[in-house]
Subunit: 131 residues, 2 copies
C-alpha cells in the first residue's frame, strides 16, 4: 500500500459526515439517493464525499449507471487499523502504568485506614513508654 | 471524545512526515532539535507538524522552555484505533469469504488433476459403452 494511499485514507476519515456515511454502509450496500436521505445536505455534496471515500479505498461502487450502489471496502479499514495498532503496546503499557498507580493508591489508602482503626482500638500503643 | 477531536486526529495522521515523527517518538521522548535531524525540512516546518500532532492529542510536550521534549500520547492512538476496530467484523468476514473461495479453488484444481491422472491410468473408463 503506497504511503499516499494511507494519506488519502486518514484524510477521508477526518470528517464526521464521511464517518457517518461509513456507519450507514456498515448496515448494507445502498444507492446514493437512499444514502443521502438521513443527511441534511445536497446530493452533489454527498457525491463529493463518496468520491473522497472511493479515492481513499474505503468504499467501492457498483457499475449500474443510475444508482451506482455503494459498499464498504473492509480491506482499507484494516490497512489503516494495522498502522494504528502498531502503537498498541504503548497504550497498553500506559494503561498498565495507570492501573499499577491506582492499585498502589488503593493499598496506601487501605493501609492508612487500618492504621487509624488500630490506633482507635489501642490509643497508647505507639506512645513512648514512661520510666 | 468530541467528534472534532477525532477529525483532528485523523487529519494529523494524513501526512507521511507526521507519521514518521510519530514513529521516531515511539523510540522515546526527544527534543525538537534531535527530532528534526533525520528530516530534510526546516525547524519551523517541524514545529508546525508538532503543533498539529499536539492539537490532535497524539503527542504531548514538556514545559522545559528551550527543548520542550515531545512524547507520544498513546491514549489518542487508542481512540482512533477503537473507531476503526468497530469495522473489524467486516474485514474479518471479507477475509473469511476470500479464504473460503481460495479453499474451493484449490479443491477444484486438485480434483481436476486427480480426474486427469485417473483418465491416464484408465483412458476408456468414461467412454460410452458399446452395445
Amino acid at each position: 500500500m503506497p504511503a499516499d494511499h494511507l494519506d488519502a485514507t486518514f484524510a477521508a476519515l477526518a470528517d464526521p459526515t464521511r464517518r457517518a456515511i461509513l456507519a450507514r454502509l456498515a448496515l448494507g450496500e445502498t444507492s446514493v439517493n437512499e444514502l443521502a436521505q438521513p443527511f441534511d445536505i445536497s446530493l452533489p455534496a454527498i457525491s463529493r464525499h463518496l468520491k473522497v471515500l472511493e479515492k481513499a479505498g474505503l468504499i467501492s461502487r457498483g457499475r449500474a449507471a443510475q444508482s451506482r450502489p455503494c459498499r464498504l471496502n473492509p480491506r482499507q479499514f484494516k490497512t489503516a487499523a494495522d498502522w494504528l495498532n502498531q502503537y498498541r503496546e504503548y497504550w497498553e503499557e500506559s494503561f498498565d502504568r495507570l492501573d499499577e498507580y491506582l492499585r498502589k493508591l488503593k493499598y496506601q489508602r487501605n493501609k492508612s485506614k487500618q492504621d487509624k482503626s488500630k490506633q482507635k482500638e489501642n490509643p497508647h500503643a505507639h506512645s513512648p513508654r514512661k520510666h
